[in-house]
Symmetry: C2
Subunit: 256 residues, 2 copies
Protein backbone atom coordinates (compact mmCIF):
# COMPACT_ATOMS: atom_id res chain seq x y z
CA UNK A 1 0.00 0.00 0.00
CA UNK A 2 1.23 3.47 -0.73
CA UNK A 3 0.11 6.67 0.88
CA UNK A 4 1.21 10.23 0.63
CA UNK A 5 2.94 11.42 -2.46
CA UNK A 6 5.00 14.48 -3.08
CA UNK A 7 6.03 15.83 -6.44
CA UNK A 8 8.83 18.27 -7.09
CA UNK A 9 8.98 20.20 -10.33
CA UNK A 10 11.98 22.28 -11.31
CA UNK A 11 11.35 25.61 -13.01
CA UNK A 12 13.92 26.44 -15.62
CA UNK A 13 14.27 28.72 -18.59
CA UNK A 14 13.93 31.79 -16.40
CA UNK A 15 15.60 34.82 -17.96
CA UNK A 16 18.75 36.13 -16.23
CA UNK A 17 17.61 37.97 -13.10
CA UNK A 18 18.87 41.58 -12.98
CA UNK A 19 19.13 44.01 -10.06
CA UNK A 20 15.70 45.52 -9.52
CA UNK A 21 14.16 42.83 -11.73
CA UNK A 22 10.64 41.67 -10.97
CA UNK A 23 11.38 38.15 -9.78
CA UNK A 24 7.73 37.42 -8.96
CA UNK A 25 6.75 38.23 -12.56
CA UNK A 26 9.36 35.83 -13.95
CA UNK A 27 8.36 33.06 -11.55
CA UNK A 28 4.63 33.62 -12.14
CA UNK A 29 5.08 33.19 -15.91
CA UNK A 30 6.88 29.90 -15.31
CA UNK A 31 4.37 28.69 -12.70
CA UNK A 32 1.46 29.52 -15.02
CA UNK A 33 2.71 26.88 -17.48
CA UNK A 34 2.31 24.08 -14.93
CA UNK A 35 -0.65 21.77 -14.89
CA UNK A 36 -2.49 21.49 -12.58
CA UNK A 37 -2.35 25.14 -11.57
CA UNK A 38 -0.38 26.16 -8.51
CA UNK A 39 -2.35 25.66 -5.29
CA UNK A 40 -2.19 27.35 -1.90
CA UNK A 41 -0.80 24.15 -0.32
CA UNK A 42 2.15 24.13 -2.73
CA UNK A 43 5.55 25.38 -1.67
CA UNK A 44 7.85 27.27 -4.02
CA UNK A 45 11.52 26.98 -3.07
CA UNK A 46 13.63 29.74 -4.62
CA UNK A 47 17.43 29.85 -4.72
CA UNK A 48 18.93 32.67 -2.66
CA UNK A 49 21.06 33.75 -5.61
CA UNK A 50 18.19 34.96 -7.76
CA UNK A 51 16.50 36.65 -4.81
CA UNK A 52 19.71 38.46 -3.89
CA UNK A 53 20.29 39.46 -7.51
CA UNK A 54 16.78 40.88 -7.88
CA UNK A 55 17.34 42.84 -4.67
CA UNK A 56 20.61 44.29 -6.00
CA UNK A 57 22.80 42.71 -3.31
CA UNK A 58 25.82 42.80 -5.62
CA UNK A 59 29.03 44.49 -4.53
CA UNK A 60 31.97 45.22 -6.81
CA UNK A 61 35.09 43.89 -5.07
CA UNK A 62 37.21 46.75 -6.43
CA UNK A 63 35.06 49.17 -4.41
CA UNK A 64 35.95 47.53 -1.08
CA UNK A 65 38.83 48.76 1.10
CA UNK A 66 39.82 46.06 3.59
CA UNK A 67 40.61 47.05 7.18
CA UNK A 68 43.27 45.62 9.47
CA UNK A 69 41.18 42.74 10.80
CA UNK A 70 40.15 41.74 7.27
CA UNK A 71 43.77 41.76 6.09
CA UNK A 72 44.79 39.58 9.06
CA UNK A 73 42.01 37.07 8.42
CA UNK A 74 42.79 37.10 4.70
CA UNK A 75 46.36 36.10 5.53
CA UNK A 76 45.11 33.29 7.79
CA UNK A 77 42.53 31.94 5.37
CA UNK A 78 44.14 32.70 2.02
CA UNK A 79 40.98 34.55 0.95
CA UNK A 80 40.75 37.91 -0.85
CA UNK A 81 41.00 40.65 1.83
CA UNK A 82 38.19 42.63 0.16
CA UNK A 83 35.92 39.60 0.33
CA UNK A 84 36.86 39.10 3.98
CA UNK A 85 35.99 42.74 4.67
CA UNK A 86 32.50 42.14 3.27
CA UNK A 87 32.18 38.90 5.26
CA UNK A 88 33.05 40.76 8.48
CA UNK A 89 30.57 43.52 7.69
CA UNK A 90 27.83 40.87 7.35
CA UNK A 91 28.79 39.03 10.57
CA UNK A 92 28.65 39.44 14.32
CA UNK A 93 31.33 36.88 15.23
CA UNK A 94 34.14 34.89 13.62
CA UNK A 95 33.88 31.28 14.84
CA UNK A 96 36.72 29.59 12.95
CA UNK A 97 39.45 30.86 10.64
CA UNK A 98 41.79 28.36 9.02
CA UNK A 99 43.37 28.02 5.57
CA UNK A 100 40.43 28.05 3.09
CA UNK A 101 37.90 28.21 5.96
CA UNK A 102 36.12 31.23 7.43
CA UNK A 103 33.07 30.33 9.51
CA UNK A 104 31.10 33.20 11.01
CA UNK A 105 27.86 34.00 12.72
CA UNK A 106 25.96 36.02 10.12
CA UNK A 107 24.19 39.13 11.45
CA UNK A 108 20.89 37.23 11.04
CA UNK A 109 22.16 34.39 13.26
CA UNK A 110 23.14 31.81 10.65
CA UNK A 111 26.38 29.99 11.41
CA UNK A 112 27.88 29.59 7.96
CA UNK A 113 30.97 29.82 5.78
CA UNK A 114 31.84 33.24 4.32
CA UNK A 115 28.61 34.86 5.58
CA UNK A 116 26.94 33.26 2.57
CA UNK A 117 28.72 35.54 0.12
CA UNK A 118 29.02 33.94 -3.32
CA UNK A 119 31.59 34.62 -5.95
CA UNK A 120 30.34 32.13 -8.51
CA UNK A 121 27.45 32.68 -10.92
CA UNK A 122 27.98 36.43 -11.02
CA UNK A 123 29.27 37.25 -14.51
CA UNK A 124 31.41 40.40 -14.80
CA UNK A 125 34.31 41.69 -16.91
CA UNK A 126 37.86 41.26 -15.56
CA UNK A 127 38.68 43.82 -12.87
CA UNK A 128 35.00 44.36 -12.12
CA UNK A 129 34.28 41.15 -10.30
CA UNK A 130 31.14 41.28 -8.22
CA UNK A 131 30.06 39.20 -5.27
CA UNK A 132 26.56 38.50 -4.02
CA UNK A 133 25.41 39.03 -0.42
CA UNK A 134 22.45 37.32 1.26
CA UNK A 135 19.17 39.26 1.14
CA UNK A 136 18.92 41.92 3.87
CA UNK A 137 16.00 40.02 5.47
CA UNK A 138 15.20 36.68 3.78
CA UNK A 139 11.93 36.18 5.71
CA UNK A 140 10.77 39.59 4.50
CA UNK A 141 11.91 38.70 0.96
CA UNK A 142 9.84 35.50 1.13
CA UNK A 143 6.84 37.46 2.38
CA UNK A 144 7.09 40.02 -0.43
CA UNK A 145 7.56 37.31 -3.04
CA UNK A 146 4.57 35.37 -1.75
CA UNK A 147 2.36 38.46 -1.80
CA UNK A 148 3.46 39.34 -5.33
CA UNK A 149 2.84 35.77 -6.56
CA UNK A 150 -0.59 35.86 -4.92
CA UNK A 151 -1.43 39.08 -6.72
CA UNK A 152 -0.37 37.64 -10.09
CA UNK A 153 -1.65 34.06 -9.80
CA UNK A 154 -4.72 34.59 -7.64
CA UNK A 155 -3.32 32.14 -5.11
CA UNK A 156 -0.20 32.33 -2.98
CA UNK A 157 1.94 29.21 -2.53
CA UNK A 158 4.21 28.97 0.47
CA UNK A 159 7.64 30.42 -0.28
CA UNK A 160 11.08 29.34 0.90
CA UNK A 161 14.35 31.06 0.04
CA UNK A 162 17.10 28.46 0.23
CA UNK A 163 20.87 28.30 0.23
CA UNK A 164 23.41 25.50 0.51
CA UNK A 165 25.12 25.08 3.89
CA UNK A 166 28.01 23.02 5.14
CA UNK A 167 27.72 21.06 8.38
CA UNK A 168 30.38 20.75 11.09
CA UNK A 169 30.46 16.94 11.30
CA UNK A 170 29.24 15.87 7.88
CA UNK A 171 30.81 16.35 4.48
CA UNK A 172 29.03 18.00 1.60
CA UNK A 173 26.42 20.72 1.54
CA UNK A 174 22.64 20.50 1.80
CA UNK A 175 20.12 23.27 1.20
CA UNK A 176 18.45 24.94 4.16
CA UNK A 177 15.72 27.58 4.52
CA UNK A 178 17.10 31.12 4.85
CA UNK A 179 13.67 32.69 4.59
CA UNK A 180 10.10 31.42 4.61
CA UNK A 181 6.52 32.62 4.44
CA UNK A 182 3.23 30.73 4.51
CA UNK A 183 4.69 27.41 5.69
CA UNK A 184 5.51 25.94 9.10
CA UNK A 185 9.30 26.25 8.91
CA UNK A 186 9.61 24.72 12.39
CA UNK A 187 6.95 22.24 13.52
CA UNK A 188 6.40 21.75 17.24
CA UNK A 189 5.28 18.19 18.00
CA UNK A 190 5.41 18.47 21.78
CA UNK A 191 2.53 16.56 23.32
CA UNK A 192 2.16 14.12 20.41
CA UNK A 193 2.59 10.40 21.07
CA UNK A 194 3.83 7.46 19.03
CA UNK A 195 1.90 4.29 18.23
CA UNK A 196 2.85 2.82 21.61
CA UNK A 197 1.43 5.88 23.36
CA UNK A 198 4.85 7.19 24.44
CA UNK A 199 5.63 10.90 24.17
CA UNK A 200 7.73 11.59 21.07
CA UNK A 201 11.44 12.05 21.79
CA UNK A 202 11.76 14.37 18.82
CA UNK A 203 9.60 17.37 19.49
CA UNK A 204 10.70 19.86 16.84
CA UNK A 205 10.91 19.12 13.13
CA UNK A 206 12.75 21.47 10.76
CA UNK A 207 10.18 21.19 7.98
CA UNK A 208 11.48 24.30 6.18
CA UNK A 209 14.98 22.87 6.00
CA UNK A 210 13.69 19.49 4.79
CA UNK A 211 11.70 21.21 2.01
CA UNK A 212 14.80 23.20 1.02
CA UNK A 213 16.96 20.06 1.03
CA UNK A 214 14.42 18.25 -1.14
CA UNK A 215 14.35 21.12 -3.65
CA UNK A 216 18.14 21.03 -3.69
CA UNK A 217 17.92 17.59 -5.34
CA UNK A 218 16.75 19.37 -8.50
CA UNK A 219 18.50 22.72 -8.16
CA UNK A 220 22.11 21.66 -8.34
CA UNK A 221 24.67 24.39 -8.24
CA UNK A 222 25.82 24.82 -11.78
CA UNK A 223 25.08 24.77 -15.46
CA UNK A 224 21.66 23.13 -15.29
CA UNK A 225 20.20 26.38 -14.01
CA UNK A 226 17.13 25.36 -12.02
CA UNK A 227 16.70 28.26 -9.59
CA UNK A 228 13.23 27.38 -8.29
CA UNK A 229 11.33 24.19 -7.48
CA UNK A 230 7.62 23.72 -6.80
CA UNK A 231 6.76 21.08 -4.18
CA UNK A 232 3.24 19.70 -4.18
CA UNK A 233 1.38 17.29 -1.93
CA UNK A 234 2.70 18.39 1.43
CA UNK A 235 0.13 17.81 4.15
CA UNK A 236 0.58 19.67 7.38
CA UNK A 237 -1.78 21.37 9.77
CA UNK A 238 0.99 23.06 11.76
CA UNK A 239 0.86 26.86 11.95
CA UNK A 240 3.07 28.86 9.61
CA UNK A 241 6.18 30.52 11.00
CA UNK A 242 9.29 32.16 9.64
CA UNK A 243 12.70 30.69 8.86
CA UNK A 244 14.00 32.76 11.76
CA UNK A 245 12.32 30.14 13.99
CA UNK A 246 14.92 27.66 12.73
CA UNK A 247 17.88 29.54 14.15
CA UNK A 248 18.99 28.14 17.49
CA UNK A 249 19.17 30.98 20.03
CA UNK A 250 22.68 31.94 21.09
CA UNK A 251 22.10 30.87 24.70
CA UNK A 252 21.39 27.30 23.50
CA UNK A 253 24.58 27.12 21.39
CA UNK A 254 26.83 24.37 22.81
CA UNK A 255 29.40 24.54 20.00
CA UNK A 256 30.71 28.11 19.74
Amino acid sequence: MSVGALTLTGLSGLPEVLPGGDLAALLAVSLATLSPATAAADVLVVAQKIVSKSEGRLVELASVVPGTRARELAATTGKDARLVELILAESTEVLRARPDVLIVRHRLGFVMANAGIDRSNVPAPAGHEKVLLLPVDPDASAERLRAALGARLGIAPGVIISDSFGRPWRRGVVNIALGACGIPALVNRRGETDRAGRALEVTEVALGDALAAAAGLLMGEAAEGIPAVLIRGLRTSAPANSARSLIRPLHEDLFR
Copy 2:
Protein backbone atom coordinates in the same frame (compact mmCIF):
# COMPACT_ATOMS: atom_id res chain seq x y z
CA MET B 1 9.09 25.91 -18.65
CA SER B 2 9.53 23.10 -16.21
CA VAL B 3 12.23 20.48 -16.19
CA GLY B 4 13.17 17.71 -13.89
CA ALA B 5 10.55 16.17 -11.70
CA LEU B 6 10.87 14.02 -8.65
CA THR B 7 8.11 12.00 -7.05
CA LEU B 8 8.14 10.63 -3.53
CA THR B 9 5.76 7.86 -2.55
CA GLY B 10 5.32 6.75 1.03
CA LEU B 11 4.96 3.03 1.72
CA SER B 12 2.60 2.29 4.56
CA GLY B 13 0.59 -0.63 5.85
CA LEU B 14 3.74 -2.63 6.49
CA PRO B 15 3.20 -5.26 9.21
CA GLU B 16 5.03 -4.68 12.52
CA VAL B 17 8.69 -5.55 11.95
CA LEU B 18 9.94 -8.19 14.39
CA PRO B 19 13.51 -9.18 15.35
CA GLY B 20 14.82 -11.49 12.65
CA GLY B 21 11.96 -10.46 10.38
CA ASP B 22 12.55 -10.42 6.64
CA LEU B 23 12.36 -6.68 6.02
CA ALA B 24 13.18 -7.03 2.31
CA ALA B 25 10.19 -9.35 1.86
CA LEU B 26 7.82 -6.86 3.52
CA LEU B 27 9.19 -3.96 1.48
CA ALA B 28 9.14 -5.95 -1.77
CA VAL B 29 5.43 -6.74 -1.32
CA SER B 30 4.70 -3.05 -0.83
CA LEU B 31 6.92 -1.96 -3.74
CA ALA B 32 5.29 -4.52 -6.05
CA THR B 33 1.97 -2.67 -5.69
CA LEU B 34 3.41 0.53 -7.17
CA SER B 35 2.89 1.53 -10.76
CA PRO B 36 5.10 1.93 -12.70
CA ALA B 37 7.30 -0.82 -11.30
CA THR B 38 10.36 0.07 -9.25
CA ALA B 39 13.35 0.97 -11.43
CA ALA B 40 17.08 0.78 -10.85
CA ALA B 41 17.32 4.59 -10.78
CA ASP B 42 14.81 4.79 -7.91
CA VAL B 43 15.95 5.26 -4.34
CA LEU B 44 14.23 3.58 -1.41
CA VAL B 45 14.69 5.45 1.86
CA VAL B 46 14.04 3.23 4.89
CA ALA B 47 13.67 4.43 8.48
CA GLN B 48 16.46 3.24 10.79
CA LYS B 49 13.91 1.98 13.30
CA ILE B 50 12.57 -0.83 11.17
CA VAL B 51 16.05 -1.84 10.03
CA SER B 52 17.27 -1.95 13.63
CA LYS B 53 14.20 -3.93 14.70
CA SER B 54 14.64 -6.50 11.95
CA GLU B 55 18.28 -6.87 13.02
CA GLY B 56 17.26 -7.45 16.63
CA ARG B 57 19.04 -4.37 17.99
CA LEU B 58 16.65 -4.22 20.96
CA VAL B 59 18.01 -4.15 24.51
CA GLU B 60 15.89 -4.59 27.63
CA LEU B 61 16.78 -1.73 29.97
CA ALA B 62 16.34 -3.96 33.04
CA SER B 63 19.27 -6.07 31.79
CA VAL B 64 21.72 -3.15 31.87
CA VAL B 65 23.94 -2.44 34.89
CA PRO B 66 25.24 1.13 34.73
CA GLY B 67 28.87 1.81 35.64
CA THR B 68 30.29 4.80 37.50
CA ARG B 69 30.69 7.05 34.45
CA ALA B 70 27.13 6.30 33.30
CA ARG B 71 25.75 7.14 36.75
CA GLU B 72 27.68 10.42 36.78
CA LEU B 73 26.42 11.41 33.33
CA ALA B 74 22.90 10.33 34.28
CA ALA B 75 23.03 12.74 37.20
CA THR B 76 24.26 15.54 34.92
CA THR B 77 21.73 14.95 32.15
CA GLY B 78 18.73 13.67 34.11
CA LYS B 79 18.65 10.58 31.88
CA ASP B 80 18.17 6.95 32.94
CA ALA B 81 21.61 5.61 33.99
CA ARG B 82 20.98 2.31 32.17
CA LEU B 83 20.25 4.21 28.96
CA VAL B 84 23.42 6.28 29.47
CA GLU B 85 25.41 3.05 29.92
CA LEU B 86 24.17 1.86 26.52
CA ILE B 87 24.92 5.26 24.97
CA LEU B 88 28.50 5.11 26.28
CA ALA B 89 28.92 1.56 24.98
CA GLU B 90 27.93 2.78 21.51
CA SER B 91 30.20 5.85 21.58
CA THR B 92 33.85 6.79 21.40
CA GLU B 93 33.59 10.26 22.96
CA VAL B 94 31.16 12.40 24.95
CA LEU B 95 31.07 15.86 23.37
CA ARG B 96 28.47 17.65 25.51
CA ALA B 97 26.54 16.69 28.64
CA ARG B 98 23.95 19.11 30.02
CA PRO B 99 20.49 18.71 31.55
CA ASP B 100 18.43 16.79 28.93
CA VAL B 101 21.37 16.79 26.49
CA LEU B 102 23.95 14.07 25.81
CA ILE B 103 25.81 14.52 22.55
CA VAL B 104 28.38 11.88 21.65
CA ARG B 105 30.52 10.66 18.83
CA HIS B 106 28.96 7.32 17.90
CA ARG B 107 31.43 4.48 17.29
CA LEU B 108 30.66 4.84 13.55
CA GLY B 109 31.64 8.53 13.61
CA PHE B 110 28.21 10.18 13.75
CA VAL B 111 28.01 13.16 16.10
CA MET B 112 24.53 12.80 17.52
CA ALA B 113 22.32 12.90 20.59
CA ASN B 114 22.08 9.72 22.70
CA ALA B 115 24.09 7.62 20.19
CA GLY B 116 20.87 7.37 18.20
CA ILE B 117 19.23 5.14 20.82
CA ASP B 118 15.44 5.41 20.70
CA ARG B 119 13.00 4.76 23.49
CA SER B 120 9.86 5.59 21.58
CA ASN B 121 8.03 3.24 19.18
CA VAL B 122 9.20 0.12 21.00
CA PRO B 123 6.12 -1.37 22.70
CA ALA B 124 6.79 -3.46 25.81
CA PRO B 125 5.03 -4.33 29.08
CA ALA B 126 5.85 -2.24 32.16
CA GLY B 127 9.19 -3.23 33.71
CA HIS B 128 10.38 -4.70 30.42
CA GLU B 129 11.02 -1.51 28.51
CA LYS B 130 13.27 -1.96 25.51
CA VAL B 131 15.39 0.52 23.61
CA LEU B 132 16.59 0.36 20.04
CA LEU B 133 20.22 0.77 18.99
CA LEU B 134 21.44 1.81 15.53
CA PRO B 135 22.29 -1.04 13.16
CA VAL B 136 25.78 -2.47 13.72
CA ASP B 137 26.86 -1.26 10.27
CA PRO B 138 24.19 0.75 8.42
CA ASP B 139 26.08 0.74 5.09
CA ALA B 140 26.24 -3.05 5.27
CA SER B 141 22.53 -3.14 6.20
CA ALA B 142 21.74 -1.03 3.12
CA GLU B 143 23.85 -3.33 0.95
CA ARG B 144 22.10 -6.48 2.22
CA LEU B 145 18.67 -4.88 1.84
CA ARG B 146 19.46 -3.79 -1.70
CA ALA B 147 20.68 -7.25 -2.66
CA ALA B 148 17.60 -8.89 -1.17
CA LEU B 149 15.26 -6.45 -2.94
CA GLY B 150 17.10 -7.12 -6.20
CA ALA B 151 16.62 -10.86 -5.74
CA ARG B 152 12.88 -10.43 -5.10
CA LEU B 153 12.02 -7.68 -7.59
CA GLY B 154 14.47 -8.44 -10.36
CA ILE B 155 15.86 -4.93 -10.06
CA ALA B 156 17.65 -3.23 -7.19
CA PRO B 157 16.80 0.36 -6.32
CA GLY B 158 19.32 2.44 -4.42
CA VAL B 159 18.82 2.10 -0.68
CA ILE B 160 19.27 4.66 2.10
CA ILE B 161 18.78 4.01 5.81
CA SER B 162 17.83 7.28 7.43
CA ASP B 163 17.46 8.72 10.90
CA SER B 164 16.53 12.13 12.28
CA PHE B 165 19.39 14.29 13.54
CA GLY B 166 19.59 17.55 15.45
CA ARG B 167 21.96 20.29 14.33
CA PRO B 168 24.17 22.45 16.54
CA TRP B 169 23.03 25.85 15.27
CA ARG B 170 19.56 25.14 13.92
CA ARG B 171 16.42 24.07 15.72
CA GLY B 172 14.45 20.98 14.78
CA VAL B 173 15.56 17.69 13.33
CA VAL B 174 16.05 16.66 9.71
CA ASN B 175 16.66 13.18 8.36
CA ILE B 176 20.15 12.21 7.25
CA ALA B 177 21.63 9.08 5.64
CA LEU B 178 23.07 6.62 8.16
CA GLY B 179 23.67 3.97 5.52
CA ALA B 180 23.54 3.84 1.74
CA CYS B 181 24.09 1.48 -1.16
CA GLY B 182 23.78 1.99 -4.91
CA ILE B 183 23.60 5.80 -4.79
CA PRO B 184 26.19 8.59 -4.71
CA ALA B 185 25.80 9.57 -1.05
CA LEU B 186 28.50 12.23 -1.49
CA VAL B 187 28.91 13.87 -4.90
CA ASN B 188 32.25 15.40 -5.76
CA ARG B 189 31.81 18.35 -8.11
CA ARG B 190 35.42 19.51 -8.07
CA GLY B 191 36.41 20.70 -11.52
CA GLU B 192 32.89 21.66 -12.59
CA THR B 193 32.18 25.26 -13.54
CA ASP B 194 29.16 27.53 -13.33
CA ARG B 195 27.45 29.31 -16.20
CA ALA B 196 30.02 32.12 -16.02
CA GLY B 197 32.84 29.58 -16.36
CA ARG B 198 34.04 30.02 -12.76
CA ALA B 199 35.01 26.99 -10.69
CA LEU B 200 32.16 26.03 -8.32
CA GLU B 201 32.69 27.18 -4.75
CA VAL B 202 30.71 24.24 -3.48
CA THR B 203 32.56 21.11 -4.45
CA GLU B 204 30.88 18.40 -2.40
CA VAL B 205 27.13 17.80 -2.28
CA ALA B 206 25.58 15.56 0.37
CA LEU B 207 23.09 13.93 -1.98
CA GLY B 208 22.40 11.05 0.42
CA ASP B 209 21.45 13.44 3.20
CA ALA B 210 19.23 15.49 0.86
CA LEU B 211 17.41 12.32 -0.26
CA ALA B 212 16.91 11.32 3.39
CA ALA B 213 15.65 14.80 4.30
CA ALA B 214 13.21 14.71 1.37
CA ALA B 215 11.87 11.31 2.45
CA GLY B 216 11.49 12.70 5.96
CA LEU B 217 8.77 15.00 4.61
CA LEU B 218 6.53 11.93 4.31
CA MET B 219 7.87 9.76 7.10
CA GLY B 220 7.06 11.85 10.13
CA GLU B 221 7.92 10.37 13.48
CA ALA B 222 4.67 9.13 14.90
CA ALA B 223 1.26 7.64 14.36
CA GLU B 224 1.15 7.97 10.58
CA GLY B 225 3.60 5.07 10.30
CA ILE B 226 5.34 5.62 6.97
CA PRO B 227 8.64 3.81 7.47
CA ALA B 228 9.82 3.83 3.85
CA VAL B 229 9.63 6.23 0.92
CA LEU B 230 10.40 5.60 -2.76
CA ILE B 231 12.00 8.51 -4.61
CA ARG B 232 11.81 8.49 -8.39
CA GLY B 233 13.22 10.72 -11.08
CA LEU B 234 16.64 11.43 -9.63
CA ARG B 235 19.18 12.00 -12.35
CA THR B 236 22.81 11.70 -11.45
CA SER B 237 25.83 10.25 -13.16
CA ALA B 238 28.05 10.46 -10.08
CA PRO B 239 29.57 7.19 -8.86
CA ALA B 240 27.90 5.38 -5.97
CA ASN B 241 29.51 5.51 -2.56
CA SER B 242 28.57 4.69 1.01
CA ALA B 243 27.03 6.89 3.70
CA ARG B 244 30.34 6.56 5.51
CA SER B 245 31.65 9.05 2.90
CA LEU B 246 29.39 11.66 4.50
CA ILE B 247 31.13 11.55 7.87
CA ARG B 248 33.67 14.34 8.24
CA PRO B 249 37.01 12.84 9.28
CA LEU B 250 38.04 13.62 12.87
CA HIS B 251 41.09 15.63 11.78
CA GLU B 252 38.78 18.03 9.89
CA ASP B 253 36.49 18.57 12.89
CA LEU B 254 36.68 22.23 13.95
CA PHE B 255 33.89 21.98 16.54
CA ARG B 256 34.77 19.23 19.04
